[in-house]
Symmetry: C2
């Protein structure tokens, strides 16, 4: 009988998930049941959101102890009892951290039909990251030509897309990132107008200098002290997109920070949380739009790839240490 | 020569403005110049927002040291060189804390034409408070039938209108207030479905019990610990209207509180600041709507009146101590 290799969650972390919260296991593959599809995974995704799935039992995508780690993957159908998916189809979906997934059709996010683009992109610039960037920037940020758009984690999977998409909309883009290597990528690969290294620059002075007319759109993946500085410089009518909280190691109990109410009030600013799952109805149309931008070389990307299932367990913690440059992927 | 009695700002408070920040003065009235209107004030308004006008030089309506205290008033024209305003017209506008205001037409917010309603209402339920409540609830809160709407300062000038307007929209209303007298007013005068005394109840348990399906709209005038509790119970897609920050004595430096980012993210909630000055285009239409609700006895109000200009200087601090029941007014 063929074997499946899986990464199982063995305890619920309160902070950043590390190798100690997972276990690599082999298990036999049962015979395929009616209504099931079997997918051989080629690419696994590693996302900052995984911390929330693991840490919080009330999270929108909570993973239970004992389950295979939840993740988006790209793979090819090797066996199917479902008429809409055939052997050889390449799919992106919730197949989990394992070599071979046996799933129902609901797990499939999309069939990958484009053959001119690398399949791994459907986990990054054409997947959760890119579509999150495009949908949130568009629907919550409502950027107008000439707006100053500030992006935290500017070189990251989501941030790098936000910066580039904002440029296509005629905005000035200001990126916040954490190393000189990433500063260089922000300028050279992602076309930011201005980049701030928040580990070496005086962030408050740097934001003020980079945004003389204030910040119209702030796309935040960090929370914490970086955000506290940006919030001080919001323009009247600013839109703050709360897309992630990467700089806060634990929310139990919630950490303290400067209250934002007075800023929101005096600037008549809006701060709003975004989760892509709420926007399934527009997912496919944003994929098509971004595919075209990739083909037109208006949307570029970086991938940070490691080989082998075993490299996944430490990868979430690496993200939170800022060690990745671009979309973090596991190649099987 | 006739005399004018004025309240002048003599120092900029960092916290709550008190009698020590103002000075009562008499001064002669100069001859009316072309383009000016002279209004004899009958009613002066006292508003929580005044703290911000005084404390923060960058506030949208900052008052400088040496100026007559900025305030909305109702008065009657006694002399005019402007064709649109005639002797005997009753006006509501920015006439300041003084017995007799000499102003340009820009200071006028509206001419009061209804003769069947008490003029003081145009400083309360038909003025800044009522129109703030109606505009912010409608445009930022987007209440839907069946929504649970939570209101802080539930018995106050703005809050009491919000509660009643939300009821007319088919919402369940939950009020937060600070004394048994105000709890009674919330139930009997303002028709709240549920009222919480945040000084005596366990606020967290009380909100949970009053809002079993979560809070859809939170209309906040307080910031601070009351808000911290309400925020914990936001429903998915909740709208938080930041209309005031009455429970925070000073924003310099900004006080610390639990960070809200994770709540906004997981609940896909929106938090937005509101200032009525941004919505002048719809002011008159909301006045008309509320006049009709008052006539139909669907919108009631309480007024807390003291007599004499000298009673104004301590009145802001009284508001912040929660000593008023209803709209705080000075009758001249």
């Amino acid at each position: 009988m063929p074997e499946n290799e899986v990464i199982r969650v063995i305890s619920r972390p309160t902070g950043i998930p590390g190798t100690e919260h997972f276990q690599l296991e082999k298990q036999p593959l049962a015979e395929l049941q009616p209504g099931q599809i079997r997918v051989c995974n080629e690419w696994l995704s590693v996302d900052p959101a995984m911390r929330g799935w693991l840490a919080d039992a009330n999270n929108y995508a909570s993973v239970k102890v004992g389950e295979v780690m939840r993740s988006l993957c790209v793979g090819t159908v090797i066996e199917s009892t479902v008429s809409t998916y055939n052997k050889g189809d390449r799919l992106m979906g919730w197949f989990g951290w394992q070599t071979c997934a046996t799933v129902k059709p609901e797990a499939v996010v999309q069939k990958i039909t484009a053959t001119d683009l690398p399949p791994s992109l459907y986990l990054g610039v054409l997947g959760l990251n890119g579509i999150t960037a495009a949908t949130a920037l568009d629907k919550l940020g409502s950027p107008r030509q000439g707006d100053t758009v500030v992006v935290s984690t500017a070189a990251g999977g989501v941030g790098s897309c936000v910066g580039q998409l904002a440029k296509t909309m005629g905005c000035r883009t200001v990126g916040l990132t954490s190393s000189s290597e990433k500063v260089q990528a922000c300028y050279e690969a992602f076309g930011y107008d201005h980049v701030i290294n928040y580990k070496t620059d005086n962030i408050d002075q740097a934001i003020k200098a980079a945004c003389p007319d204030g910040v119209n759109v702030y796309f935040d993946n960090t929370s914490g002290s970086i955000s506290d500085s940006v919030m001080q410089h919001l323009a009247i009518g600013a839109r703050v997109i709360v897309c992630g909280t990467a700089s806060i190691p634990s929310w139990d109990p919630p950490p303290m920070g400067p209250r934002v109410n007075r800023i929101l009030l005096t600037r008549r600013a809006r701060m709003e949380g975004f989760i892509l799952f709420d926007h399934q109805d527009t997912y496919a149309s944003y994929v098509e739009k971004l595919e075209q931008l990739v083909r037109d070389k208006k949307l570029t990307y970086r991938e940070h790839i490691t080989d082998g299932l075993h490299t996944a367990t430490g990868a979430i913690a690496q993200l939170y240490r800022g060690e990745n440059l671009g979309k973090r992927l596991i190649r099987l």
